[in-house]
């Protein structure tokens, strides 16, 4: 580090500390910051991997009996289980740490390698949660901008009130309410939408009718998730628009003679977007962990429902792999959020 600064510029008595401080003050370069951030992310991953081992070794009962109870387990699997679950703890840990990401033990319920089971369930989750994330981001930001810009207006009062209510809602309850209203049908309301699943099994998934059927099945769970996610985006966006509204540069923009709409669109919103960008990237990590309860309510065969089944089992190898996957996804999105924000706003690097 000291080689970057020429020695003759400033001969400090103890070279290490002052040099480092000066570099911090200037703000480090984006590449440097990214590398540092990725390294801390890896450190966190190591922590999660270790936690994942000890957490599941605290489960009561003998793992071997738990796993094999009432099932046919082939010899190969039993050998793997012995290796993983017998002997002193540190031997087990050594066995685990050698290959934490590709478990040799099959899922207890599916009798298949856990990562294959997970792979089969990824797509429905990405479809459902991905769509809901895009929709809720768009609507949430628009609502937040409008509410914050016209603070105290009727629109603001209504939207803030209803987002707070949505925020206070257990998401699976909202899902069940929509189900009872639009799938079972109440009173004069006919049951329009299907109560669960991804598509009509009689139709081919690639035919136009099949695609329509998927959209039809997607409607209710996606609406539920969009409403729930929307609340957070609009509240955050509203708060940051309020923050920007009192800034002097908006006065300048108005003094230039810009119309209110342009002041908002060109000046206020781009600056106010920063917290929302962080939030969007942070939430990307949760796309993969999906919505455990919503997928359960709508029998949507994604990772969330898989988690529910693994809990009900309990299917320890599967739960362990899911826990690892979800944690790593969140860590990765955290790192991504920090790097993106740092590239958009250099102030955060200093």
């Amino acid at each position: 580090m000291s080689s970057i600064i020429p020695a003759d510029v400033e001969p400090p008595p103890s070279p290490e500390a002052p040099v480092r401080r000066r570099q911090r003050g200037k703000g480090e370069s984006l590449g440097r910051y990214s590398v540092r951030r990725i390294l801390t992310g890896l450190g966190t991953t190591v922590f999660v991997v270790v936690v994942n081992f000890f957490l599941f070794h605290m489960l009561p009962g003998d793992p071997l009996t738990n796993y094999t109870r009432g099932r046919n387990v082939d010899q190969n699997q039993i050998r793997e289980l012995r290796k993983a679950y017998t002997g002193p703890l540190w031997v087990q840990f050594k066995h685990y740490i050698r290959n934490p990401f590709s478990s040799h033990i099959d899922s207890a319920q599916f009798s298949q390698p856990v990562w294959k089971v997970i792979g089969d369930h990824v797509w429905p989750t990405l479809l459902l949660v991905g769509t809901a994330t895009v929709l809720s981001t768009i609507f949430g930001l628009l609502i937040g901008i409008k509410a914050g810009w016209r603070r105290g207006s009727r629109f603001d009062k209504w939207s803030t009130g209803s987002t707070l209510v949505l925020y206070a809602m257990p998401e699976f309850w909202l899902g069940m309410m929509l189900l009872i209203l639009f799938s079972t049908g109440l009173g004069p309301l006919p049951g329009l939408f299907p109560s669960g699943g991804v598509h009509n099994p009689e139709l081919s998934q690639s035919s136009p009718a099949g695609v329509l059927s998927i959209l039809f099945h997607l409607a209710l769970p996606c609406a539920t998730l969009t409403l729930i996610y929307l609340a957070e985006y609009s509240l955050v966006m509203r708060a940051s628009v309020l923050e920007e509204k009192s800034q002097d540069y908006l006065q300048t923009a108005r003094a230039k003679g810009l119309r209110d709409k342009l002041v908002r669109r060109r000046h206020a919103v781009p600056n106010a977007l920063l917290p929302s960008i962080t939030l969007i990237f942070l939430n990307l990590g949760f796309i993969i962990s999906g919505a455990v309860t919503i997928e359960t309510v709508f029998s949507w065969p994604g990772l969330g429902e898989l988690t529910y089944e693994a809990i009900r089992g309990p299917d320890v190898p599967l739960l362990q792999a899911l826990f690892l996957l979800f944690s790593v996804a969140v860590i990765a999105s955290n790192v991504a959020a920090d790097i993106v924000v740092a590239s958009v706003d250099p102030r955060t690097r200093s």
Binding site: V51, P60, M169, W173, M176, L322, F326
Partner: protein, 305 residues
């Protein structure tokens, strides 16, 4: 004695401190009172607390007993059963009122755990420089990134479904947010002159943290507490819905689990589904509103807005 003889002229330091405290409480209350939503939150909470306290006096615990249920099965609301009955013939109204007890107890107790851990870790990591501070900060960051639901699920599976365990699980998974806020506040307090004065007079770490940092962090913790209760109640509902709640207790989440597991939706039993969710929304909303109002009291910058 000195206080009595000196009259108004001399007041002991303690008396001065109390007078100041009283003044600050009353001015805080003045700010809080002006916020209608905060007051509405307080009223809703008072209502639910009364319900939770008196419900055992009105309905004996045997009304929740599966084997002693007398009502018709899945009956819509009537005069005898104002909110109808569930799949076992129990009155939904009774279930809801008893459920308020578990939901509130879990929410409050879990928050207490989370606050104590969060405040201790936050203050220590902000106050101690060097290895302890950095280590605690790392620990907070690590816990912050572990996704809540999987961790809670795993812990609940490991510990087993009892009331205490659910409280512990929610408590130890929800402290990092508090710790982070408290740490930031501790750092800002640490830079103020009076702490330097305390240090110059020879105050030890413990004295500094207890007498100078903690009082300055407390208001923030208080505002954060009410928001954490809201989250904790939602967490309890979710855990119970996933079948990880206390198996012998009725809570709003466990009623919703019953609805889901016993075909309440396909039979259109809205009277069974609607009330527990509505109660959760009201209570969580009330805590959120109170928390937001307290934030305004604590943070003067939010007042003009």
């Amino acid at each position: 004695m000195t206080e009595a003889t000196a009259g108004t002229r001399y007041r002991s330091p303690r008396a001065i401190a109390w007078a100041r405290r009283r003044a600050s409480w009353s001015s805080s209350w003045g700010i809080f009172r002006k916020q209608r939503s905060g007051i509405a939150g307080v009223i809703i909470l008072a209502f639910f607390i009364v319900v939770a306290l008196v419900s055992p006096l009105i309905w004996p615990a045997s009304d929740l007993d599966v084997s002693q249920a007398t009502g018709p099965i899945l009956a819509p609301p009537s005069w005898a059963y104002p909110l109808g009955t569930d799949y076992l013939g129990r009155s939904v109204l009774t279930l809801i009122c008893w459920g308020a007890r578990v939901s509130l107890i879990v929410g409050l107790a879990a928050t207490a755990i989370s606050m104590v851990i969060g405040t201790l870790v936050g203050i220590a990591s902000g106050h101690y420089k060097g290895l302890i501070g950095a280590g605690l900060e790392r620990l907070t960051d690590w816990f912050l990134v572990i996704p809540f639901l999987p961790l809670a699920v795993v812990l609940a599976t490991i510990l087993g479904p009892t009331l205490q365990n659910v409280i512990v699980v929610i408590g130890i998974t929800s402290w990092p947010g508090t710790a982070r806020i408290v740490r930031a506040q501790t750092l800002s307090v640490g830079a103020r002159p009076y702490l330097e004065r305390a240090k110059a007079l020879g105050a030890g770490d413990w004295h500094q943290m207890r007498r100078h940092v903690l009082p300055n962090v407390m208001p923030l913790v208080l505002a954060n507490t009410t928001l954490t209760v809201a989250v904790a109640i939602l967490s309890e509902t979710t855990l119970a819905f996933l079948g990880l709640g206390p198996s012998d207790k009725v809570s709003w989440g466990s009623i919703l689990e019953d609805v889901f597991q016993n075909a309440g939706i396909s039979q259109g039993a809205w009277w069974w589904l609607l009330p527990p969710g509505l109660c959760v929304v009201l209570v969580v909303l009330a805590f959120t509103l109170v928390g937001r109002a307290l934030e305004v009291v604590v943070d003067p910058r939010m007042r003009e807005r």
